[in-house]
Assembly symmetry: C2
């Protein structure tokens, strides 16, 4: 029992130091480890498996909506990267460059992709000729490198894993629809897989992607009241098409520029899962994204019937397609409980002699630590119900947190007070001038301009000018 | 019809210029495209989908045998890379290095991983403490960079996609078993997925991996009689463990070094598939790795019943889990046939009014262009049979090719004559001296030392010394 205590005590309490709690959890739950190069992390099996579950979900959704996976080169020639001027301005300060092979200097510096617009555009210019070639809807899974100064596991790294979709269309309408439908797919993933209620909307001019006409974003609210940008979709119009000369012959035999989009989510989502659902005992994983959904822990393994039943339950659940672990190591049950809690395994199933006498097992749901006994023969029908129940409860809890921390500000004083409390604060403002002042005064930034627009006040509380739009602000990661 | 002819005529005949045929096919079947940086290719949807099918097969096999996926950083600090001396000697001339962010020079040069032994070893040194932590059986899917001078699509690139497994064990026995069991998994993949009969064995000292004690290889014989190394597994012993200080406490509470392995296959396998099975009409894809297994081509779409039946067949096969394409574009049937042949789709299903009157569809199997008619209601039961039949026929054809091009040489003259013909030539030789002479005289290299060892001659035909082992030689890619 002393060992068990030590294991648990080694996480900082969530409300004492959220940032330290987060780092402790990343390491203790064995999601990641640091490498020898600052900002480059190791995705350990348990962390990587979460990412694989996200990949599986999205690959199905992408393919169903007509997207195809490709793989573009790791490197971009410096001159190619400079073709679209807004784009290069946004990324230039944080590009890692290959300049030598150790034996000879390269004739041109090669940028490690921080994002692949320029590569997709070059390829599209070659393979798109006729309207019959459109739309082109490509996606790639890869890692990208951005030379960030401040880094944190999953949230901001010099290297991170992501998917980047890049599409080309005949019309503005179709491209704009793509931009919004990908936002929908991400939002649905939040609801169905991550149990995270995303807030969506358009980004302000200041916050949009370098080279985009419009950027849309999904924001998640962390337990500490800070927002996390969790995914973006971009409408590019014809800006890249003109810079890269991507044209097609329309059905009137005239050359036209294509309309483009791009969109992506990254391993930052793992950070979102941790900070939305986790608690003082460790991770709390939503069941559909959890690498292990059920952990079976035998109690008094040596008593006749215990291991037999544990094995049988394992096989039944495994065969039915659940991700299940039978923890038959020689650690104490208490130690195993703590480990399973640290790792946020949604369901713990205790198989012990006293329960077995009554033909039951004990089920403990991680998120609320509730115990219940269920008959062994009901396990296979009850587990899907319990997983669904956990998923929904986690989503509702996260949604309640968002609702309890979303405010409307009618004055700048009110705004500052709400921001201090943490959460989203909606305010109707006059424009970029107000946005800048707010950032300087409070460090809060414009998260989204929600699709539903109603003015809270007629004039902007910050500048006194006529308010033009309502923006949701928050402090953000 | 003129368009159709042009499409087909644009591939070089296989026996006229094998190398040009290969390049034509890579481009014409839309497997890949060149990027702006020599040696870095674009994996187009059709090529990438082949890789995804290989990934799916191997991920299942890896997980079933207890391996876990992880992701290690893209970069290796130069000093870390230099820790194992044989390893660095082997890779140093071909390492791409990040030296700057464009804004500031890095304090240490970072090597883009050409392989990740050094990263796994550093991590293992941190996370392995007790015998309870062993074995560690990790795998990662990623791209690696090697600054090759001569590059060819899929076969040799500055960047390629691969998986690299890295494991650590308590005993030599266990590590050696892992090295061979991974070779088995790859060989089985050849048999079950790629329809390629691999020849397996140990590599000579000259040909083994930089840092390995023993390297095992899978070799495939291309249509032109050249061999292609298609995968390798390495037994490292304790060399890396000592260089990186990877130790564990055994059950006697003593510190011990671990025994390690690594193993990998790459997108080179796509090249193998092309060169083993392809013909003058284009790709010939084995059905279980093919991105599209059945293409349905409607004949006279406007005739009542044609599109209805084509759609129904599509839905039936799609629902049953087959990868099926309904080609309902407005191209001519002849053009569609040529495209499907170029892309090597195993089964073409023609749905036309004359066949429909008799309640049948016409099936053409790509590899032998045989036609047969099958009743519409039998399609769902016949397709799995036909796919199996194609797979087996392709495997048998490839195996017959290997058998017809495998020779035993009793004299050096005989050896040279066989090598000129193309194929594997087995010869019993004295050692590295003979191997070197053979390479200089014939460009043939030692492919494998087969597991089954029988001496063909008592003395080495090259050096006249006592023969010590039989080696399979071939010219190789």
């Amino acid at each position: 029992m002393s060992k068990q205590k030590k294991f648990v005590e080694s996480i900082t309490a969530r409300d004492k130091d959220f940032s330290q709690w987060y780092t402790d959890l990343c390491l203790k739950a064995e999601l990641m480890d640091y490498s020898d190069v600052k900002g480059f992390i190791i995705y350990r099996p348990y962390g990587y498996a979460i990412w694989e579950n996200i990949q599986n979900y999205l690959n199905k959704a992408f393919k169903k909506s007509g997207h195809e996976n490709v793989y573009m080169p790791l490197v971009i020639p410096e001159t190619l990267f400079q073709k679209e001027k807004d784009h290069v301005k946004g990324f230039a300060p944080e590009t890692a460059m290959i300049t030598t092979t150790g034996v000879e200097e390269l004739t041109e510096r090669l940028i490690i992709r921080p994002t692949s617009e320029t590569l997709f555009c070059t390829h599209y210019a070659k393979v798109i000729n006729s309207y019959r070639d459109l739309p082109k809807k490509y996606n790639q899974w890869c890692s990208v490198v951005r030379w960030e100064k401040t880094t944190r596991p999953f949230l901001r790294g010099k290297e991170f894993l992501w998917q980047e979709g890049h599409t080309a269309h005949q019309t503005e309408k179709e491209a704009r629809e793509e931009t919004l439908s990908m936002l929908d797919i991400y939002e649905k993933m939040g609801k169905e897989l991550l149990a995270i209620p995303f807030v969506t909307g358009r980004k302000t001019e200041r916050e949009k992607f370098a080279g985009a006409i419009d950027t849309y974003s999904l924001e998640a609210l962390m337990h500490d009241g800070q927002a996390l940008q969790s995914g973006t979709t971009h409408y590019f119009g014809q800006e890249f098409a003109k810079a890269f000369d991507i044209t097609y012959t329309d059905d009137n035999n005239e050359r036209q520029y294509v309309y483009q989009t791009s969109w992506g989510v990254s391993t930052r989502l793992i950070g979102a899962i941790i900070m939305v659902h986790g608690d003082d005992e460790g991770l709390v994983l939503p069941p559909y994204v959890a690498p292990i959904q059920v952990v079976i822990i035998p109690i008094q393994e040596t008593v006749k019937g215990v291991m037999e039943n544990a094995n049988l339950l394992y096989e039944t659940l495994d065969k039915a397609g659940y991700r299940v672990l039978l923890d038959d190591t020689n650690k104490s049950p208490g130690w195993k409980f703590s480990e399973a809690e640290m790792k946020g395994i949604p369901v713990r199933m205790e198989v012990g002699p006293r329960d077995l006498e009554q033909g039951v097992v004990t089920i403990v749901t991680r998120y609320n630590r509730e115990k219940r006994q269920i008959a062994i023969e009901d396990v296979i029908t009850q587990i899907p119900q319990i997983l669904k129940e956990i998923h929904e409860a986690l989503y509702e809890r996260a949604l309640a947190h968002v609702k309890a921390h979303t405010y409307e500000a009618k004055s700048y004083e009110e705004f500052k007070a709400y921001i201090k409390k943490g959460g989203y604060v909606a305010m109707s403002v006059a424009g970029e001038e107000a946005e800048l002042m707010i950032k300087n005064d409070t460090t809060a930034t414009a998260r989204v301009i929600p699709f539903d627009q109603t003015l809270i006040t007629d004039s902007c509380p910050v500048t006194g000018k006529k308010a033009t739009q309502t923006i949701w602000f928050a402090r953000a990661y």
